[in-house]
Symmetry: C2
Subunit: 176 residues, 2 copies
Amino acid sequence: MDVLEAIASRHSYRGAFRPVKVPREHLRQIVEAALQAPSASNSQTTSYVIVDDPDVLARLAQIVPGSLALGTAPAVLVVLVDRPDPQSEAPDFTAVNYGASVENAMLALTGLGYAALWMEGWKRAPGAVVAVAELVGAPEGMVPTVLVPLGIPEQPVTPREKRPFEERAWWNRYSA
Amino acid sequence: MDVLEAIASRHSYRGAFRPVKVPREHLRQIVEAALQAPSASNSQTTSYVIVDDPDVLARLAQIVPGSLALGTAPAVLVVLVDRPDPQSEAPDFTAVNYGASVENAMLALTGLGYAALWMEGWKRAPGAVVAVAELVGAPEGMVPTVLVPLGIPEQPVTPREKRPFEERAWWNRYSA
């Protein structure tokens, strides 16, 4: 799929997935794409646990209940980020880095014909981050940050409305 | 260009650009791609001033000296982000959002045959952020965050080495 088409057709999919496995070859391509994203000073602060074991998927859905996408997905990317060094005075680019990396994954999986959901809100549930970290065996220095359930969508979906170019982009100088 | 190929061939280009204008049609396609990126709760916190006026480009290069890419680029994207509400207790996804948005721009411009540099470090220079904000007329609620000089590269470049899949991705459970 052309890169501009992938960008235009990527969307957040909140519905159910078909009970069809995602081949590991595809999962690897998706995560390889994610790992190719740029990062500040090439710091590569984003890592992935690729969950496709039905037992681990079921436990993940128990820790983070209430999502049709997560509850039915045949695969979930658990995005880990390096815990920033509290001693460091350098700016922390962890969030920017994983933003670019997860977007690469979203575009790659769109190109391969899958849909997915970029989940952030689950972290607010008390204990959820620690439970997911334990489930995937995250080491001390890494923290789970995003969950990306993916698969073949049951329903068609349409991208969400965005404000138009004229309201978010200007030539040479901002104008209200 | 295929999406996976665009992801694999995107790179940070620090060299000089050829003195060839980037057509506005292409600049618009690149920024349209950037604006299609996902954002937390569809908050769309990332905006763009597209600089291609030689006078504005020259002033930008004066404010941020020492970059061959910025000093020779026929176009620069000035990425603005909404200033987070200090009253809000919700998590701030501004950095994640612009990470995804700028990556979309990088992939779109790669697909169109251009190279670019994702510049963050310029913000550390005293007064630089305020000067760029004034130059592009950024309103009170938006702050310049990334500069993306782009164009046709003078030299060929190769992507930076990344740590391999085996060191950054695992199946179902992290293992050292």
